[in-house]
Symmetry: C2
Subunit: 111 residues, 2 copies
């Protein structure tokens, strides 16, 4: 697929610019979630069809690797790649900004 | 409007999670763009109706202030607030990630 431009921010938005994808990566990177039902249980109440779609995109774009669970072969785990791990500083910068500028958000820095 | 959760990342995505809004803020914060026709001219070719919609949201949510141009009263300028200025580290973290992990993007660090 041809990109709209070669701007790094644009590239990021073409890959991850929506209201849901980064929440799945948050769950994987910071909360250790690994499978479909765990993502589905997050507080933002993602719909199953959106979750399926975003997980497929994340695998296709090299953020997650899908692998059968060692203890339950019926179940797949989604494991983060280095490319996904590299997003941690982005997610922390976003959290810093939101805590500084928006009311009523959880201050994760305070634990 | 009630938020999906009080997670800071979720709040950010509810405000800015789409494929276009951060490009407008990029144009304002890093390229000094101020009015509609300048945003419209950016390489990603935003559609006029999307641009209008996103500018209204950015004003409504306190990222931009709309003010008549001093030299042309017919024309409005969009000026960044402190809340918008605070996003610069987020946009830089995004650029760092993309330059490190994606092929074919402009390395803005090299100027």
């Amino acid at each position: 697929m041809e990109r709209r431009s070669d701007c790094p921010l644009n590239c990021f938005l073409e890959l991850l610019g929506d209201k849901w994808t980064l929440l799945i990566l948050r769950d994987v990177l910071f909360f250790g979630k690994r499978h479909f039902s765990e993502f589905l249980a997050s507080r933002e109440s993602i719909a199953t069809n959106i979750l399926s779609d975003r997980l497929s995109s994340l695998v296709e774009n090299g953020f997650l690797v899908k692998a059968p669970d060692a203890f339950n072969k019926q179940r797949n785990n989604y494991l983060p790649t280095k490319k996904a791990e590299g997003l941690k500083p982005v997610l922390m910068a976003i959290a810093d900004w939101t805590i500084a500028h928006e009311e009523g958000v959880m201050d994760i820095r305070k634990g």
